[in-house]
């Protein structure tokens, strides 16, 4: 579903991602773990076509992000950001925001589908008339997930989807994401600094440090302590 080969991303003189390769199978949930500045979010943004200066190859369901028109790419892959306060438009009603990608892509019946999307993420249809400031953090993240799913993509890229939320709300959102992945046969790439979240959500994970991939593990290897790098061991110890 996702193939990344020898990806290098540069910002001026600094290199944010250096020679990173990984692949994610259809229906799989893949975790990217590492500290801030290790390059994990940059990888997601590059897959979405949000960064120009990169080298290597990226294939998303057979599409290349630099050659595919934005609308077409948006129907395959969507992103959910860490901070639902920042990723929703403060002056648009919730229903308007969820319907926006459908309107842009000329999908008929956006209104009815918006109600459907709200229901899917566990919010009542009356939420479409509310504004982001009237919602709690967890409800806002549900809206961001509904908007990401509005175009029925095959892949969700989730950048720290629960780190701005309280632990009790985190559990609700993680359960929701797992249910959606199962029901809609979605592929996930989840960026997180929290190994416990990744171990719970992902079948495989890649650990990153200083723009490079340190190692790739299966969940079973992580749980059995079959870890080769001392850096991963330190992360596990601090968790």
């Amino acid at each position: 579903m996702i193939e990344v080969r020898d990806l290098t991303v540069r910002f001026g003189p600094s290199t944010a991602v250096r020679h990173v390769s990984f692949s994610v199978a259809a229906g799989e949930s893949f975790g990217l773990v590492g500290e801030s500045g290790s390059g994990k979010s940059t990888i997601l943004r590059t897959i979405m076509g949000l960064h120009p200066g990169w080298s290597g190859t990226i294939s998303v369901n057979g599409l290349s992000p630099e050659k595919t028109p934005r609308r077409e790419l948006a129907r395959v892959v969507q992103m959910v950001f860490q901070d639902p306060y920042a990723s929703l438009h403060p002056r648009y009603a919730i229903g308007h925001q969820i319907a926006e990608p459908m309107r842009i892509n000329g999908i008929a019946d956006a209104g009815a589908r918006t109600a459907e999307m709200l229901d899917l993420v566990g919010l009542s249809t009356s939420f479409q008339f509310r504004y982001p400031h009237e919602l709690s953090g967890g409800q806002r993240q549900r809206v961001a997930i509904a908007r990401a799913l509005a175009l029925s993509p095959r892949i969700l890229l989730l950048d720290e989807p629960t780190s701005a939320l309280d632990v009790s709300i985190q559990a609700e959102i993680l359960n929701l994401l797992n249910r959606l992945r199962r029901e809609m046969n979605l592929t996930f790439v989840i960026v997180s600094h929290d190994l416990a979240v990744v171990s719970y959500m992902c079948e495989r994970l890649m650990v990153m440090q200083n723009a490079e991939a340190v190692e790739t593990l299966t969940r079973a290897q992580l749980r059995a302590g079959e870890i080769t790098s001392s850096y991963t061991r330190a992360l596990v110890g601090a968790a």
Binding site: E35, S36, D166, V167, S168, N175, A196, S199, A238
Partner: protein, 282 residues
Amino acid sequence: MSTLAHIENLRVAFRTDEGSLREVVRGVSFTLGREKLGIVGESGSGKSITGRSLLGVLPPYAQMTADRLTFGNIDLLRASPKLRRSLRGGRMGMILQDPKFSLNPVMRIGEQIVEAIRIGDRRIGGRLARQRALQTLEAVHIREPERVARLYPHELSGGMGQRVMIAMMVVREPDLLIADEPTSALDVTVRTQVLSILDELVTRRGMGLIFISHDLNLVAKFCDRVLVMYAGAIVETLEASRLREAKHPYTQGLLSCLPTINGSLDPLPVLKREGSWAEPVR
């Protein structure tokens, strides 16, 4: 253990748009010794407002009452604004979550620490103050203090910024430090460093620390005692090492909804809130 602060029946209310009063802290009582006291709870549980009440930095429109609010032998309820101001930064300090918003963006790090020193004691000469600023930066494990002192806040990483904040607070050697989510913005490895600095200050200087956090595991590992707050009231007080033996369903719920590296892959238990948890206190 000598008592450093004593709070009895603290209540803080804000006026709502409709004009009614909404209590966000509802009858909180506790004493603090020279220890690491954790306050945990979700956002909106009143943990930060409790810390701010003690420091005296609530917004002017907040309505605060308490039966007792003392710091050492000072009655904070009767203390003049001037006295309270002199306590802040001197005998009481506060560290906030995000150093980006707490440091002056257009002033070099070294100058900010020197300013903090000289506000406390104007008799200290410039040269001596600069020397002490460098020593403090070194004490919070900043490797090249002379270079860092010349930097502006935007040139620091999050972890360095947080250590600079701690340096600014501890340079005056406060008796009480309130740390409000001091490590939430930091990576795990930097977090460990920052915590060990705070720990050192408590043990070596006999400081009292109020550590406000939403992270139960962290508080269980780091603190001596934990207050669990829900909807503005303390629902449970525990020895940190015995957090797992919590009795209150809210604390138990918070603990069980956390995923763990080796935990089950079944859906996570979700906190079911009971109306009775938020009943009026006493």
